[in-house]
């Protein structure tokens, strides 16, 4: 009997115990999937570009398409100046996309043969979001000094209104890493739970008898539809994360144009 607990898929299992002092740095199934995602992205892109032909084959076309896609995304949101962050945004996009897509596989050549979605763990998505915000603030402060914080005082507004607007801007700025991280995490978590819940309905109904087995067709159809939807969400959330990163980066590139 398959286990029907929809939360099980998020459990972290230690593969190799590693601890430094009090810190538990164990290599887990989550770590495994992160490494696999990184290696897959690198390996697939390297393989696609191995020939580096003038007339690209299919794999190279896909790699170039992805490159142009991310470059276009940066250009349209942050302008040409934003292209200095291209490797960063591309890595984020590719890493999250690969993580989300690996999460769509129910089975995977992992130590326990089960799939795992590291983007469904809030600490991971929050860390990625914090990384983005730190890059934005770091670049902004280094290049513009205190002028970077001029976004707190919107231009073209009579200064007494700043009493009202500055706290709002501050809150919206501080909530960025939270919303950025939670959006990805919640989407992946909710989608995977939903899939598992409907999938467990199939098993439960199927075990009731003939009538149940017929009734199980409904959740089965639902699971198929949800799986398609989840693939869309997996791509979309990686895209949204990358686009928001670009928008926040554009603030760091020229503060004041808020």
């Amino acid at each position: 009997m398959a286990d029907t607990n929809p939360i099980d898929q998020f459990k972290i299992k230690t593969i190799a115990d590693i601890s430094v002092g009090d810190l538990n740095l164990s290599f887990t199934n989550s770590s495994y999937f992160m490494l696999v995602a990184a290696i897959l992205v690198m390996g697939l892109l390297a393989m696609a570009m191995s020939k580096r032909a003038l007339v690209p084959n299919r794999a190279q076309s896909v790699a170039e398409l992805m490159y142009e896609f991310v470059a276009g995304m940066i250009r349209s949101t942050a302008g040409d100046k934003g292209l200095k962050f291209f490797p960063f945004v591309f890595s984020l996009f590719a890493f999250i996309l690969m993580g989300n897509m690996l999460g769509m596989l129910p089975y995977f050549p992992a130590p326990d043969f089960k799939g795992f979605t590291f983007t469904s763990h809030i600490i991971v998505t929050f860390a990625l979001a914090m990384l983005v915000i730190l890059v934005v603030v770091g670049y902004g402060v280094i290049n513009h000094g205190l002028k970077f914080f001029s976004f707190l005082f919107p231009a073209g507004v009579p200064w007494p209104l700043w009493i009202l607007l500055t706290p709002i801007e501050l809150i919206s700025f501080l909530s960025r890493p939270i919303t950025l991280g939670v959006r990805l995490f919640a989407n992946m978590l909710a989608g995977h739970i939903l899939l598992k819940v409907f999938a467990s309905f199939i098993v439960m109904l199927g075990s009731v008898g003939a009538l149940g087995a017929i009734g199980a067709v409904a959740p089965f159809v639902m699971v198929v539809a949800l799986t398609a939807l989840e693939f869309l969400v997996a791509f979309l959330q990686a895209y949204v994360f990358a686009v928001l990163t670009c928008i926040y980066l554009s603030d760091a590139l020229d503060p004041g144009h808020h």
């Binding site: 972290i12 990184a38 580096r52 763990h121 600490i123 860390a127 978590l189």
Partner: protein, 177 residues
């Protein structure tokens, strides 16, 4: 396992933490995320992305080069066509000039020849008229002689008169008035 595995099955609802919020593995997650992402970032930014960008750039350059070459060739072809047309027009003008010159020359020659022929004909005509005049005069003179001879002969025959030639001529002249 370092962390006790929660029991499978019925008591999962009672488990302490929802796995995504379980802080037990936060350090491990962050550590391995940092390693994976840093690895990915460095390999992509140093090796793979420049390779993809280079390939795209190279293709763009190649296409731009080819387009430039094509534009060059086209302008060259245009120039050649222009030069050809210019030469053709020049040749045509020259040919027309030559033709006009030749025509003028021929016209002149024809006029000259016509004039010469006219003069010759005129001269011949005048001479002929002179000759005819002379012939007529001669004939007329002959007629006079014949008439006077005939008159003398007639007079001798009819009247038996012996008329001298001079008298006969006088009589003929008088008769002719």
């Amino acid at each position: 396992m370092a962390i006790e595995a929660p029991g499978e099955g019925a008591e999962y609802a009672a488990e302490a933490a929802f796995p995504p919020f379980d802080p037990t593995y936060f350090a491990s997650q962050l550590f391995w995320l940092a390693i994976s992402f840093a690895l990915l970032y460095f390999v992509l930014s140093r090796l793979i992305l420049p390779r993809i960008g280079g390939a795209i750039e190279e293709r763009k350059d190649k296409i731009a080069d080819n387009l430039d070459a094509a534009a060059d060739m086209k302008s060259q072809a245009d120039e050649t066509v222009e030069a050809y047309e210019k030469e053709l027009a020049e040749a045509r003008t020259r040919a027309q000039a030559v033709a006009a010159e030749a025509k003028a020359e021929v016209d002149k020659e024809i006029a000259e020849a016509t004039r010469q022929a006219d003069t010759e004909l005129e001269a011949k005509l005048v001479e002929s008229e002179k000759r005819i005049q002379a012939a007529r005069e001669a004939a007329l003179a002959d007629v006079k002689t014949i008439a006077s001879e005939a008159a003398a002969a007639a007079a001798e025959h009819l009247a038996g008169l012996d008329v001298s030639e001079a008298d006969a001529a006088k009589a003929v002249d008088a008769a002719r008035g």
